[in-house]
């Protein structure tokens, strides 16, 4: 349970406060345990020497094992320092930890993905996987909402996905400056009535701020999905990542080891309870 030093291969700037960092594992002979294998939805603990450690979802393509990719939004001391890293810097990595999106169970079903803000990052490996094995699934829909056009992640990739014509990719923003944005305006849920999928045979994957997820789930339920068809990725204070430190409890669950991906019906009684 100690961090393994990885080297920064490249840092790309996504938005004013968000970067995507690709990490190269150390040579296998030094640390046999190190690698880049993970399941979509899992996270790593990223450590900066002496400064601290933060849980960050893995946002890369699971089929490309050369590098471990994380998208980091600068919101605290450690994430701000991560945003400032250059090629060659060293980041300690523990993981991967946590539960994964139910891609196996989703085979043969329509898959509708609702992402809000940085919530697209932990969903991106799942989207890579869905599109790589497109034939295994029914319809694939991504509804992605962000604050403004300038806050959108992975725009070039979204365009490429849209260009495949075998997935419905819809992007929306809460607000846009006049004239500069020709896309959708409104929260992700407003796109749901126009999303093409069969509610009876759909699996929904939801990730974003908790309020956004609550509203998205209400919209999905309204569209006809049962609680058992909806999965969400929760955020709580994760310190040890292995269920020992107690910080990330959400009722019966430890978000770090039982989650972060949960089937909604398991959390439904507690979601929305104030200060839970």
């Amino acid at each position: 349970m100690v961090p393994v030093p990885y080297r920064v291969l490249r840092v790309s700037r996504d938005t004013h406060d968000t970067v995507t960092i690709a990490l190269e594992p150390p040579a296998a002979r030094d640390t046999p345990a190190a690698g880049t294998g993970f399941a979509p939805g899992q996270f790593n603990m990223l450590y900066l020497f002496g400064l601290g450690e933060v849980p960050i979802s893995i946002s890369g393509d699971p089929a490309k094992p050369g590098a471990l990719v994380h998208t980091v939004r600068a919101v605290g001391p450690v994430t701000r320092a991560l945003r400032g890293l250059r090629r060659g810097a060293v980041v300690g990595v523990r993981g991967p930890y946590g539960s994964a999106w139910p891609l196996g169970e989703a085979a043969g079903h329509d898959v509708v993905i609702m992402a809000g803000g940085i919530g697209l990052a932990p969903l991106r490996p799942a989207i890579h996987d869905l599109l790589a094995q497109r034939g295994r699934y029914g319809k694939v829909v991504l509804l992605y909402g962000a604050r403004t056009p300038g806050d959108l992640l992975y725009m070039r990739q979204l365009e490429r996905w849209r260009g495949r014509f075998d997935a419905q990719i819809e992007v929306t923003v809460d607000a846009a400056p006049p004239g500069a944005w020709l896309g959708h305006v409104g929260v992700a849920g407003t796109l749901l009535p126009r999303a093409e999928f069969d509610a009876a045979r759909a699996v929904a994957l939801v990730c974003g701020p908790e309020v956004m997820m609550r509203f998205a789930i209400a919209d999905l339920r309204h569209r006809g999905l049962a609680p058992e068809q909806i999965y969400l990725s929760m955020e709580r204070n994760m310190r040890c990542a292995i269920g020992l430190c107690g910080h990330c409890q959400f009722g019966p669950a430890f978000v770090c080891k039982d989650g972060p991906v949960f089937r909604y019906d398991r959390l439904a009684p507690f979601l929305g309870v104030r200060e839970f």
Partner: protein
């Protein structure tokens, strides 16, 4: 819990008990047992039976604790004090690893100094269960905690059947005592009757039997089994508190918005005393530090508490800002969600959280208030959602 197979009970005199302690020391164990210090009976390293609090007891109630003289020379004539054994198995601060900068970035050294081998003297039923509960947390999940494992593997447990319960005890309700049934190497029952002062010894493990063979112990006496039952029956009759645990998880889950949480929040100081004295509370923080040169870093684990504000911090905010939500988290975890997480209650009925709460908040009373509000007692007039037995408080 299954009783161990019928066995020959043995008896030690007070001197024989000391011989047992010395036999454990010879085997390399560091003795830890109850001893009187600063007006409380605490657990600390002891050298011999002479360090045990002979002739002392304590008086406990919500928010109060004081030691008193007994009118005999009992060595275990008191219930549990502020310390629990987690202090030794799960120390308040543990260095998890240290690291130094290198050309390759950094190098982590997580080798541990050899863990001390403790012999715990006088572990009560409640605390035996508490150790078993922490075993589930640290040893029986998907991730084993190596620091805890090293200390736990080395520990020798001399349990004691409680003959003296306290004002805040409720192990009978939690089915954790006073009789010890498992999880010990040796178990003592202190018999102080008709001028007798001796210890009946039950053997729990082979290594317990082995140590006992080195000590001058006698067989019997013939009424040994009855003497044990008489002793624990006395303690069972002294329970100062009770808790009805029927459907308690569901009770708490369906009352997350109960007005009683506001009532308790008006009294709770969020001081975290209850979590510090609780023998099962296991939450910890992780702290990364460097020295002034920036060349060396360490990671420390320290006891943390769900009563602190930052406990629930997620970027740019804390989830549980109100005392109400933090008390609710502690109590619903301890008595409810713990069952979902670990298949057992997190409460062993030791009563420490009641005794050491500076304002005397009583977990048994809080449960009762919520339960009674759902089903008012016959003839009672309290409407659902409000309890008629509110304690006075400044609101």
């Amino acid at each position: 819990m299954a009783r161990s197979a019928p066995q020959t009970l043995r008896t030690l005199t007070v001197d024989g008990l000391d011989a047992l302690l010395q036999a454990l020391r010879r085997r390399g164990y560091r003795l830890v047992g109850p001893t009187l210090r600063d007006g409380a009976i605490i657990y600390d390293e002891i050298a011999s039976a002479a360090d045990l609090p002979a002739g002392w007891t304590d008086v406990q109630d919500g928010g109060t604790y004081r030691v008193e003289r007994r009118n005999d020379q009992a060595l275990f004539g008191y219930p549990v004090g502020p310390h629990s054994w987690k202090r030794f198995l799960f120390p308040a601060a543990t260095r998890l690893w240290r690291a130094r900068r290198t050309d390759q970035g950094f190098e982590v050294d997580d080798t541990r100094e050899d863990a001390p081998r403790y012999a715990f003297i006088g572990v009560r039923g409640c605390d035996l269960h508490a150790i078993a509960i922490q075993d589930r947390v640290f040893l029986e999940g998907p991730h084993v905690d190596p620091a805890y494992k090293a200390l736990r593997d080395g520990a020798f447990v001399v349990a004691v059947n409680c003959g003296q319960a306290g004002g805040t005890c409720f192990c009978v309700s939690m089915k954790t005592g006073p009789r010890v049934t498992a999880g010990f190497d040796l178990a003592l029952t202190e018999v102080l009757e008709d001028g007798r002062h001796e210890f009946i010894v039950e053997t729990g493990t082979d290594r317990g039997a082995e140590v006992l063979r080195e000590v001058p112990a006698a067989d019997g006496p013939p009424d040994a089994a009855d003497a044990i039952e008489r002793t624990v029956a006395r303690a069972a009759a002294q329970m100062g508190r009770t808790m009805d645990t029927t459907g308690i998880k569901e009770l708490l889950y369906r009352n997350l918005d109960h007005p009683r949480w506001d009532n308790v929040a008006a009294r709770c100081l969020t001081c975290a005393n209850c979590t510090m004295v609780c023998p099962t509370c296991f939450c910890s923080s992780v702290e990364d530090t460097t020295d002034l040169t920036g060349e060396h870093a360490e990671r420390w684990r320290r006891w943390d508490s769900c009563f602190t504000m930052d406990f629930s911090y997620i970027h740019s905010g804390n989830v549980r800002t109100s005392p109400k939500s933090r008390y609710r988290q502690w109590m619903t975890h301890k008595l409810g969600s713990w069952i979902d997480q670990f298949g057992t209650s997190g409460c062993v009925g030791c009563g420490r959280c009641i005794t050491w709460c500076p304002v005397g908040i009583d977990i048994t009373e809080e449960v009762r208030a919520i339960r009674d509000s759902e089903a008012p007692p016959p003839g009672g007039t309290a409407p659902p959602g409000h309890d008629g037995s509110e304690e006075p408080h400044d609101a």
